[in-house]
Symmetry: C2
Subunit: 413 residues, 2 copies
């Protein structure tokens, strides 16, 4: 691995690359008890260790450290606290049938983290070296990986700009760290939402915009959604369906990519998801779903997805509007809608509510009731329809290492 | 001050409001040397103390503390690091002619911080109580306030969400802190930029949009500008002029509000600044400039601004496009452009460059040269024209406490 040289104040410094061979491990002296599976909510649990490395503009990347989980000491003027130079990834380690942890297309997460860091003008790093270190962390924390099917160890690589100055501008200082947390289903079944979730369509607040940052995995894409999300919850919806523009184009569903399935006159189905036009996250689960659907469509007899070989699937990455879906629903053509993402895998969308903007404004005050826009009745288990179920089952099998496809399921060691 | 009660797990807790009377002061044991005025760049210097208070969803606001400047210990899962719940304010303390520090309309900053915190779904706080604490901090750090005219102690109140969970959602935990730093001019005169600054008009990247968060002072409005700012610098421009939409509407200039002055056929001048439509920051200096200009326009003989009483001023808050300014420049009507903000006060814009988007893309690779779009020759000192100079002089006199207007200049004690 080559190292670059930086010149400052007439002195030459060697800028060290991120080097996994320099990883040190400091084990926690006492280990925490692992709580019973299925008893905790997403993000509640802190494990014993975390992975940390820092970048300094003069000396480069520090030796990566796995050490006991604990607070980061940050200057109050830090770039990440003042100007939100925070990027992250979401990955999951599943316990395979052989008792070994599996990751799902981790190279994709590493590549996206690089892209996100560059968009925030944060320092570059070697993605392969980071992945080696993450593998070590997951292996060390393997006892935290739940064995229940659908449960996993969620992995959160995070990079933050730590330049200790309030001067507005890029941070050449950074901390790149990874924490992990055992998780069950993101939306646990309850009496209110037995199998799928409901979405409130929101156009008054806009998640992303052409020329904005919606196509990157940045911390700053999430907090602007908290207030609209509260309004949605006040109206009895689980998440927000983000709209863009006068034509009410769908972008994302909460923090998930959105898919709609409509029956065709020829007996087949159209599967539609918004395109990667810069306003939606290039989701890795989204990509996997598209690849699987297309592989199935090309050769239904191959049985990539557990669907009738006679079912013709037509996959479309294109703009999709709320009125269009409403029309499908009215004509009895809307088969199912689902959201996909690392946190949820595939989740059924049972109901989409559309309210006029004034009602959303009222909701922010805690008042009003929405009139549902469309009601999709769950047809099979988990509320998912035929395609959602096939995708969920296939993706889970791949993630749990019970099956493999194009080498997506990767042993973590 | 009333206190509310929160019920959790069947127990009643008293939610403490932010209470300035509970402020404790722990002085630094050794004080840092104060560097010579004018020798440091914006944001370089850390003073001896900072102000910190925390909010807990059960117990409420902690007793505010002034304590030695030092790092904050933050859980790696903190909401502010993961989802960018970071809001801030910018204020300045100037040393008055009586040797006492002055603040400028600090109630406006406190109100805006409240609004920003609410937009990020962060806890509410008593703005008056916070201001009392900030006054104490400034008084304690008074030896850091530069005496040179135009120099000041920059004050950075900051609020961050500290919920220690990666679950996507609002943070009821927060740290509200304030740091201060002595500053000179934000754009120090250099050979390259003698008196004013240059702007590269950028439409490919969009700072804010209708339904977005551009109208709030959030950390997340700033970092997306770092990459375009680098492109502007590579092309020889100081800052970015942010455009929105196909009509190339001007929103902000770097992190400043934008003003253009055009000659009228009747011998007067039109002063135009974009309206508060949610896509620009409601700047306090912007508001002050508008109030002063309008007060002068209504009664030129009163001499609110040092301008010829015969000069008729017409003030407009309205959309302003780049082609419109280009037309003015071509017709010889464009008198001056300037940016306003707490950090810069009033700064001349001497040159605005407009390049096609492909060139901006090239610039990101470090290539290409821009063709200047319009060149505004500086007409008087600091590169500012007649109105910019009058505003600068008046605002500085108010901020330094040499004059007062509507009680804007406030003793800090």
């Amino acid at each position: 691995m080559a190292s670059a040289t930086a010149h400052t104040n007439g002195h030459a410094h060697t800028f060290a690359p991120l080097d996994a061979s320099r990883l040190t491990i400091e084990r926690a002296t006492t280990l925490k008890p692992v709580p019973e599976q299925g008893t905790y909510a997403f993000g509640d649990i802190k494990t014993d260790h975390m992975l940390v490395m820092t970048c300094d503009p003069l000396t480069g990347w520090s030796a990566p450290e796995i050490k006991p989980y604990g607070p980061l000491a940050l200057d109050p003027a830090s770039n990440c606290l003042q100007y939100a130079t925070n990027v992250f990834e979401g990955m999951k380690a599943f316990m395979g049938p052989d008792g070994k942890p599996r990751l799902f297309r981790p190279d994709q997460n590493m590549a996206r983290l690089q892209t996100s860091a560059a968009r925030m003008a944060l320092p570059a790093f070697d993605p392969d070296a980071l992945l080696v270190c993450i593998n070590k962390l997951v292996s060390l924390e393997a006892r935290w990986i739940p064995s229940l099917s659908g449960h996993s160890l969620y992995i959160r690589p995070t990079m933050i700009g730590t330049k200790p100055s309030i001067k507005v501008g890029p941070s050449e200082h950074a901390i790149l760290y990874t924490i992990v947390t055992p998780v069950g289903p993101y939306f646990p079944p309850t009496d209110d939402t037995p199998d799928g979730i409901s979405l409130l369509a929101v156009g008054e607040h806009v998640r992303s915009w052409p020329g904005g940052t919606g196509g990157y995995k940045l911390g700053l894409n999430y907090s602007p959604g908290f207030v609209p999300q509260r309004a949605a919850a006040a109206l009895g919806y689980d998440q927000v369906l983000w709209l863009l523009g006068d034509d009410k184009r769908v972008t994302e569903a909460g923090a998930m990519n959105f898919f709609a399935v409509a029956a065709r006159a020829d007996g087949g189905v159209d599967v539609v998801t918004p395109p990667l036009d810069g306003t939606i996250l290039p989701g890795i689960t989204r990509d996997a779903a598209l690849v699987l659907l297309r592989a199935h469509a090309v050769d239904p007899a191959r049985g990539v997805l557990a669907l009738p070989p006679t079912l013709k699937i037509y996959v479309h990455e294109r703009h999709l509007t709320l009125p269009e879906m409403s029309q499908w629903a009215g004509a009895g053509r809307l088969r199912e809608c689902f959201g996909v993402g690392t946190a949820v895998l595939v989740v059924a969308i049972e109901r989409i509510g559309d309210v006029v903007d004034e009602q959303v404004a009222e909701a922010l005050e805690g008042a009003s009731k929405a009139k549902p826009f469309v009601d999709i009745t769950p047809t099979t288990k988990r509320g998912l329809g035929e395609l959602g179920t096939a995708l969920y089952d296939k993706l889970l099998a791949l993630k749990e290492g019970r099956e493999n496809f194009e080498g997506w399921s990767v042993l973590c060691e």
